[in-house]
């Protein structure tokens, strides 16, 4: 249906809702916008239309029809009609029954014009011709092994890549909601809901690799459906509210696995080392690979709760909520260990069976079950005129009852059987939180003091418990009606209990060996090498190699926001500052600190009904520090192999805009502009003579920082001039300009084959876009 036809349908709908209002309370009103866009974008970057659609030609950006007839109310709304980002909403009903529906399409474009040698022959199956596969395999096997390097492979695949398939990576969410609300009495309310969301399209499937030296990035075909059925009820009385709800939510993936050809193999073979294929070290591997896509799952969640108005004069409330959830994943079949038919006890003696036969799996699907319970109680009161107190307790617990599965080994990249027994690990955790605050009003000043405790109990992790205690203080200062200052400060410390650091890495290893992770080295008892390694950490007897989500941490947060409204109140000036500082003060490796500072200045001014203007500026600084250590086959015990990364992102954002009535009931002008610039720098260092520095000497470069780490700029300028040529009619002329640039250290540009990898390199980069439009609006 074209936009114009759609609008015609809306007008018909308006007429169908009945004759014009008969009584003073009845009304019908609405608005229809039609227009024409002219678009000019200088590149094919997906970023311009990332989450939206801006088509050229005739558009119908908005309509709304709503009104009341008797006690029946209706409201129809639509935006971006027939576009990829269209949305419709309908509300119908009266005080007893209401029906609400919403349909929302949300595009997500990840990149345009990606290049791939493969072609999707059926949903989720990506292939290239056996002829080409055979030609590549023949050329590689015929060449002297040492000459099979990047230059050789690049030359081999270059002509085919020039003629490769072009793919756009784009996902569309089609989300619909229906809710029926029954209110038989003012006190009782029942709501039944149904949600359906379909996600279709392609996104980048990383992980489609045949070895560390043979990554083949592909579009991952997405065909997801999520549905939710819910029922909620609420009863209100003078004593409070009691409520209950039940939701059943289920996810189905229409494609269970992604199958993809190996560009360099047309026949299956094993490979003693899957690390380097198809380079000089090895040239074997499977003819195609298989990747398990997200499995179907289900969730039941039920809750009951009540808020009691214990004592109205003191505004005393006690809220209690309890909830139970059951999450299962037990339908989707496992894919086999491998697609490689050559991995058999004959050709790969370590393999105990034919690994491609799914009958050899210990189970055909997972018996995945997680139960979770939560309980929360909140108390609030004003026990004295100027005093208020609040306290909250919350418990959230997951119990992972998933059956543990043992595997005698696994195939690495479908190339080789690794006889390393593994067992699945059903992690779960429990969180407890308690906080309390007290506020006191001293006239123009309100002070708050509080305390918070957060605790975690974890299974299969290196620490059994972590506990964080924080003290908070806040103040509100009022200077008459023209000044308001809100400020807060928080200081906290986190610690841990029950440390068994080697558990951080060997959870799924049936036979753990010596810890291979620097953050899994125990403090003592690990032998002379490990003891020497630990000594090199340089932090005495204290464990200082704990992951950041459990490590000892000091937290400081400060925030202040001052608003000034001088004179007659037609202008507001505000300045705000916020700082958060996470200091992992006992950590020597991993994340050491993360700091975020931001300052904002903003103002708005409305000197009269005809004019209102505003402007804002925000400065942000994010500084993260971490330390690592480079190791070979065994953990290095020299600090010469250490490296540090200090990321410093500075962001400047500003915006300004205004609304101007040039001539009342005739001419209007809206202006708006926004700019953000992110300047990121990753300062990297490592000692001279250590492994990282030595590795770079042949390149004749030293350790190199990344000055253009994540630099972006985005400009947006909008202007719209409107002329009201009749009481109900408005003509608008407008446009916007956007300019986006990005320099990201991870993102390749126009290089589809780099050492060891085929990449799509879909374009989500720079663009300049100019959009002009005219609009006609009719309101009644």
């Amino acid at each position: 249906m074209k936009p114009t036809l759609f609008i015609a349908a809306i007008v018909t709908l308006a007429a169908a809702t009945g004759p014009l209002p008969a009584t003073a309370e009845d009304f019908q009103t609405g608005e229809v916008n039609l227009g024409v866009n002219q678009l000019n974008v200088d590149t094919d970057s997906s970023k311009f239309l990332e989450y939206r659609d801006v088509p050229s030609g005739v558009v119908a950006p908005y309509f709304r029809l709503f009104g009341q007839k008797g006690d029946f109310r209706y409201d129809f709304l639509g935006s971006n009609i027939r576009q990829d980002d269209q949305r419709y909403r309908v509300k119908l009903g009266n005080d007893k029954i209401r029906v609400e529906g919403d349909y929302n399409e949300i595009p997500h474009r990840f990149g345009n014009d990606g290049h791939t040698l493969l072609q999707e022959t059926s949903e989720g199956v990506w292939q290239l011709s056996n002829t080409l596969q055979g030609a590549f395999q023949g050329a590689i096997t015929a060449a002297p092994r040492p000459s099979v390097n990047y230059a050789f492979l690049s030359k081999l695949v270059g002509p085919s890549l020039d003629a490769a398939n072009h793919v756009d990576l784009k996902l569309e969410r089609e989300r619909g909601n229906v809710a029926v609300r029954l209110t038989p009495t003012k006190a009782f309310d029942v709501r039944v809901t149904y949600f359906h969301e379909r996600r279709v399209g392609d996104r980048s499937a990383s992980g489609t690799s045949f070895g560390f030296g043979n990554v083949v990035e592909l579009p991952e075909t997405v065909h997801y459906v999520t549905q939710d059925f819910g029922a909620e009820a609420q009863y209100n009385g003078s004593w409070g509210v009691v409520r209950a709800g039940l939701h059943y939510n289920w996810f189905n993936n229409g494609i269970e696995s992604l199958s993809f050809d190996n560009p360099f193999r047309v026949t299956d073979s094993t490979d003693a080392s899957a690390y380097t294929a198809p380079g000089s070290g090895s040239i074997g591997g499977p003819s195609h690979g298989l990747m398990a896509l997200p499995p179907d799952n289900k969730a039941w969640v039920g809750n009951v709760g009540a808020t009691f108005k214990l004592h109205e004069p003191t505004r005393t409330r006690l809220n209690v909520d309890a909830s139970y959830g059951d999450f299962t994943q037990d339908q989707s079949p496992f894919i086999p260990y491998t697609t490689n038919t050559a991995i058999t006890p004959t050709s790969n003696p370590a393999a105990p069976f034919v690994a491609a036969n799914p009958a050899n799996l210990p189970a055909q699907h997972l018996d995945g079950k997680i139960k979770r319970t939560s309980f929360a109680a909140t108390f609030t009161s004003r026990p004295a005129d100027k005093l208020s107190v609040n306290a909250r307790f919350r418990l959230y617990e997951t119990t992972n009852d998933t059956t543990r599965l043992s595997f005698p080994g696994y195939t690495r990249f479908d190339g080789v059987w690794e006889a390393i027994p593994r067992i699945s690990v059903p992690y779960d955790y429990k969180n407890q939180r308690f906080d309390a605050t007290a506020n006191y009003d001293f006239g123009e000043v309100t002070l708050e003091a509080g305390y918070r405790h957060t605790g975690f109990d974890r299974s299969y992790r290196e620490t059994e418990k972590t506990k964080e205690n924080a003290f908070v203080a806040a103040a509100i200062l009022r200077g008459g009606s023209w000044a308001l200052l809100r400020a807060s400060y928080e200081k906290g410390t986190r610690g841990y209990e029950g440390l068994e650091i080697e558990r951080s890495e060997d959870g799924s290893q049936v036979k753990p060996g010596a810890p291979a992770n620097l953050l899994a080295i125990p403090a003592e008892g690990g032998g002379p090498v490990i003891e020497k390694t630990y000594a090199s950490f340089g932090c005495g007897g204290s464990p200082c190699n704990i992951r950041f989500d459990q490590a000892h941490k000091k937290v400081d947060k400060i925030g202040a926001n001052l608003q000034l409204t001088p004179g007659n109140g037609n202008a507001t000036f505000a300045v705000g500052y916020f700082r958060t500082n996470d200091d992992y003060d006992q950590s020597r490796y991993g994340l050491l600190s993360a700091k975020y500072d931001t300052v904002t200045v903003e103002a708005d001014w409305s000197p009269g009904e005809k004019t209102s203007v505003y402007a804002f500026y925000t400065y942000e600084k994010q500084v993260d520090a971490q330390r690592g250590r480079q190791s070979g086959a065994a953990v290095s015990f020299t600090t010469l192999d250490d490296w540090t990364s200090n990321v410093n992102d500075k962001t400047n954002s500003f915006g300004a805009g205004g609304k101007f009535t040039l001539k009342p009931e005739k001419w209007y002008l809206d202006l708006f502009g926004r700019y953000q610039e992110v300047n990121g720098n990753n300062d990297i260092a490592s000692p001279t003579g250590g492994a990282p520095e030595l590795a770079r000497r042949p390149l004749k470069v030293g350790i190199t920082g990344i000055p253009a780490y994540d630099d972006t700029k985005i400009w947006t300028l909008n202007a719209e001039l409107r002329y009201q040529f009749a009481k109900a009619w408005t003509f608008g002329l407008g446009g916007f300009y956007e300019e986006y640039t990005i320099s990201d250290s991870n993102s390749l540009v126009n290089q589809h084959y780099v050492p060891g990898s085929f990449f799509l390199v879909a374009n989500d980069g720079d663009y300049k876009a100019k959009v002009g439009y005219v609009r006609v609006s009719y309101r009644w």
Binding site: G207, F251, F327, T338, Y396, T446, A474, V635, I742, N746
Partner: protein
């Protein structure tokens, strides 16, 4: 937490409840209670306040039994004075009232559903009024009678850092109007940390990202625990809303022998002289794709 340790915070709550209720008798705070007034014709109000009354009549407030008097109190004197003296008599003007008084008026009817736990919420304690965000007469949104067309414009007034983050290259579709702050937060709530609309952060995220819900054969423990360990839902300059760029984010925890602990510097980046697939495009995820959990029997390292 074992049973006896749960008792402590619950006992504190219980103590507070009993203590406060027993003490509270001396405090007189008037609760808003709609009173019944003599019938009046809303058309009388419209005579002077046409725009305001028309706007209200087009909302559900228009169906209130007491009409304007529901919020503005008894109007008899106001109208009588206007008729007799040509000057409006006294009326409750909420625009001049304190946040507490405004909120009492609104909560008289709305202390239920999403607003049931307004009392004691951070916004309540920071002295925000309902009218800080909502407008009864001059609302701009097509739902919830907000003072601005989108809820984020309201929220950014006090949370400007969130506005700045929303402008980042990696962002949720907030600025495109496809989600709102209220998609994830209930600004009226006092019961949940950060006012999120779920019992736990991860459950909130999984509401839209259901394919990551699992349970999985191979779990990634921090993913199961909390999405915000790795993602900043308000915006980021790194791909996928990540709090740091790969491989450095992964190397905050994975400093293993061989490739995980190896330094990847500028020489290995996309513009470097020695590009490696461990540092460009999806970096670690080029092979370890299933960081959110995997179901492949050969994927204990969260590969395929």
């Amino acid at each position: 937490m074992s049973g006896h340790r749960m008792v402590v915070p619950l006992a504190v709550l219980g103590f507070l409840a009993v203590g406060v209720v027993s003490r509270g008798q001396t405090v007189a705070v008037t609760a808003p209670k709609p009173e019944t007034h003599a019938a009046f014709d809303v058309a009388d109000c419209k005579t002077c306040h046409e725009e305001a009354v028309t706007a209200v009549q087009r909302t559900r407030h228009g169906g209130l039994e007491q009409q304007c008097a529901s919020c503005h109190g008894p109007l008899d004197e106001h109208l009588k004075s206007n008729l007799e003296k040509g000057e409006p008599g006294p009326v409750i003007k909420l625009s001049k009232a304190s946040a507490g008084d405004i909120n009492k008026t609104c909560l008289g009817c709305h202390e239920k559903a999403n607003q049931a736990n307004w009392a004691g919420s951070t916004h309540d304690r920071r002295k925000l009024a309902c009218t800080s965000c909502h407008s009864i007469h001059e609302y701009k949104s097509d739902h919830a009678q907000l003072k601005t067309a989108r809820d984020s414009e309201n929220c950014f007034t006090c949370h400007p850092a969130m506005r700045a983050k929303s402008l980042r290259t990696s962002h949720h579709p907030l600025r495109e109007g496809k989600i709102e702050c209220a998609s994830c937060h209930n600004p009226h709530d006092s019961t949940r940390p950060k006012m999120i609309k779920a019992e736990w952060t991860t459950e909130l995220c999984l509401g839209c990202h259901t394919e990551k819900r699992g349970p999985f054969l191979w779990e990634h423990a921090p993913v199961r625990e909390n999405c915000v360990l790795c993602h900043d839902p308000h915006g980021s300059n790194h791909d996928k809303l990540l709090v740091a760029k790969l491989p450095f984010l992964c190397q905050r925890c994975h400093l293993n022998t061989r490739h995980p602990g190896t330094l990847y510097d500028g020489t290995n980046s996309a513009s470097g002289v020695n590009i490696t697939n461990r540092a460009v495009e999806h970096a670690c995820k080029n092979c370890h794709q299933n960081v959110h959990g995997g179901n492949a029997p050969s994927g204990p390292y969260l590969g395929r």
